[in-house]
């Protein structure tokens, strides 16, 4: 079976983020860009399926030209091909434009499953997978912590507040996976070398037939203000010299919770 995986390149989540007060966008200069760690689980899930049943895993990403690095990383993990949607007109796209561009890029591809992370680590709205499913008229199996494909159906364990639901949908379907679904593999040197020769197609708004229908031309919302939230008052920080536990316990008594 063929699997498409949607991935996003994000600023290194281990570096505290900043917003530019002028442009109201994230400061990306001087911050490494990485494949979203949440998306590595989506790539891993796809690789496990194609390794078991045959077929290919295709990586799709939208972003500036340097998002190619995120695709190469997924290819180094073992994915077969890539599609990079990149166009100056797509800068600062909202989720719906992103979903539209991905839906257009997917048209004509052969696939049984589209796998995405549950949400990006930087934006974390988690809207794109469901929007994509709606635009393509496909069922969405969301928040999967386990995924199995058999007899033309996908079945997941879907995370809930107090356990999980077993949910099934016919293929093709869109699936979002949580971090708990698998341990993502680390690219081997051989994989990294091979990734350099794998095909990555680049497409823009014109190629997708979306000129004037996505990105800047079709924004559904606009950020108008950014301000600092009220900070918490600084507390008391002490070094444990054998009495740390006692301090905490005394404090709990003071707070009247013991």
């Amino acid at each position: 079976m063929n699997v498409l995986v949607c991935v996003k390149q994000i600023p290194d989540p281990n570096v505290p983020g900043k917003l530019d007060p002028q442009t109201k966008r994230m400061v990306r200069e001087g911050v490494d860009a990485v494949l979203d760690p949440g998306d590595e689980h989506a790539v891993e899930a796809a690789l496990q399926l194609v390794e078991k049943d045959g077929g290919e895993a295709t990586i799709i990403s939208m972003g500036p030209p340097r998002a190619m690095d995120a695709i190469r990383r997924a290819l180094a993990m073992g994915a077969h091909r890539g599609v990079l949607i990149t166009d100056p007109g797509l800068e600062n796209s909202d989720a719906l434009s992103t979903a539209r561009a991905i839906a257009a890029a997917i048209e004509g591809q052969s696939y049984e499953l589209i796998i995405c992370g549950t949400e990006s680590t930087d934006g974390s709205s988690g809207a794109v997978p469901a929007q994509l499913a709606e635009l393509l008229g496909l069922p969405l199996l969301s928040f999967a912590r386990k995924l199995e494909v058999n007899d033309g159906k996908a079945q997941i364990d879907r995370q809930t507040d107090d356990g999980y639901d077993v949910v099934e949908a016919p293929l093709p379907a869109v699936v979002t996976v949580t971090g708990g679904i698998n341990e993502a593999r680390y690219p081997a040197l051989r994989g990294i070398m091979q990734a350099k020769n794998k095909e990555v197609k680049q497409v823009g708004l014109k190629d997708l037939g979306l000129d004037g229908k996505a990105g800047k031309a079709a924004l559904t919302e606009e950020v108008v203000e950014i301000k600092a939230a009220e900070a918490r008052k600084a507390g008391e920080i002490v070094e444990d010299k054998g009495d740390g536990a006692k301090r905490v316990a005394d404090y709990l008594v003071e707070l009247k919770v013991i």
Binding site: E183, G235, V253
Partner: protein, 324 residues
């Protein structure tokens, strides 16, 4: 203004806690309608009215319970076309997010996720979203035609019943067939996982662990401490991703938002992904060996030291104070 709608998720007739928060917000913004779907939904009407719904649409088709998102999207799209509401508010829950996102694609509407507040501004709406662990507040305005769809994080608003002895809400019971139309995602069965102690969302005290615990078996001492304090146990994304604890323990951007009276962070560095879910705690206590850990910036009391020494001692200290 043609009204504010609340997607009122119910379980066997009881509204989800976030629904009462959403209604509290919605009624301050305009004439509020609640949409209650699934078997038993009619039983939720009274509570929805108490929290501010003037009108409730009820549809009890089992499809709303058994099929993910699409039946609700079909029905909402139909009702929206008929009534033309200005604003739809959803809880940022598993189902709320799926339904709102699909609906936004169907209607080409503005969708703002992770919101903490909605206010009126220049005759329209402005939506407040905390970013970077809640250190910044971003204001977004819709630029698409109505309705605007907003996903509000649980616990962002305190639920309060409407003050006055309001008249019971007008109820419109729908029974027209629900046509998902296309292939669907169907729930085959529901599994509950056993949990002891209070739920994270309801707990007065939360003891939460991170990577600094070193190994999954070290969570046992947090379980023990929590049992002594009558606390719930939570976890950071790092340990959930590492498989030490199930996702249902996760507190943060991905995961649960909690507002306990006391939050005890053990071996948690305080990445923004985590702090956005817990910085609403009244009091924060942090124990971590790294004096530079960002969690100390939030802590009312921070202890720099070895969690493996301090936590067992703390269990003893708590027992001693309880007179055991």
């Amino acid at each position: 203004m043609a009204g504010v709608w609340v997607f009122a998720e119910t379980v066997e007739g009881t509204p989800a806690p976030v629904v009462l928060e959403l209604l509290t917000k919605a009624r301050s913004l305009g004439e509020t309608t609640a949409i209650a779907l699934g078997p038993g939904a009619s039983k939720s009407v009274q509570t929805l009215g108490q929290y501010g719904a003037k009108k409730v649409y009820v549809h009890e088709d089992p499809a709303f319970r058994d099929i993910l998102a699409t039946p609700a999207v079909e029905l909402l799209a139909r009702l929206i076309e008929k009534d033309q509401p200005d604003l739809l508010i959803f809880g940022m829950t598993y189902d709320g997010r799926d339904v709102a996102s699909r609906l936004s694609a169907r209607l080409s509407s503005a969708l703002i996720a992770n919101a903490s507040d909605v206010v009126k501004k220049d005759g329209g709406w402005a939506i407040i979203t905390p970013v970077f662990g809640g250190s910044l507040l971003v204001t977004t305005v819709p630029r698409a035609k109505a309705p605007t769809l907003v996903l509000i994080r649980p616990k962002a608003v305190a639920a309060e019943p409407a003050a006055s002895e309001a008249a019971p809400p007008q109820v419109e019971t729908l029974s027209d067939p629900v046509e998902p139309g296309k292939p669907v995602a169907r729930v085959l069965r529901r599994e509950k996982e056993k949990a002891s102690g209070p739920k994270l969302e309801d707990a007065t005290i939360i003891v939460s662990g991170g990577r600094g615990l070193g190994a999954p078996e070290n969570f046992k001492m947090l379980d023990e401490l929590a049992a002594e304090l009558g606390a719930a146990v939570g976890a950071s994304r790092a340990v959930v991703d590492a498989g030490w604890k199930p996702y249902s323990f996760q507190i943060g951007q991905t995961g649960k938002t909690v507002k306990p009276a006391v939050y005890i962070a053990v071996g948690i560095s305080g990445a923004m992904q985590h702090t956005v879910g817990m910085k609403g705690a009244k009091t924060i206590i942090a124990i971590n060996k790294d004096p530079e850990a960002p969690i100390f910036k939030l802590a009312d009391l921070g202890v720099i030291g070895d969690v493996h020494k301090i936590v067992p001692q703390l269990i003893q200290e708590v027992r001693a104070r309880k007179g055991k």
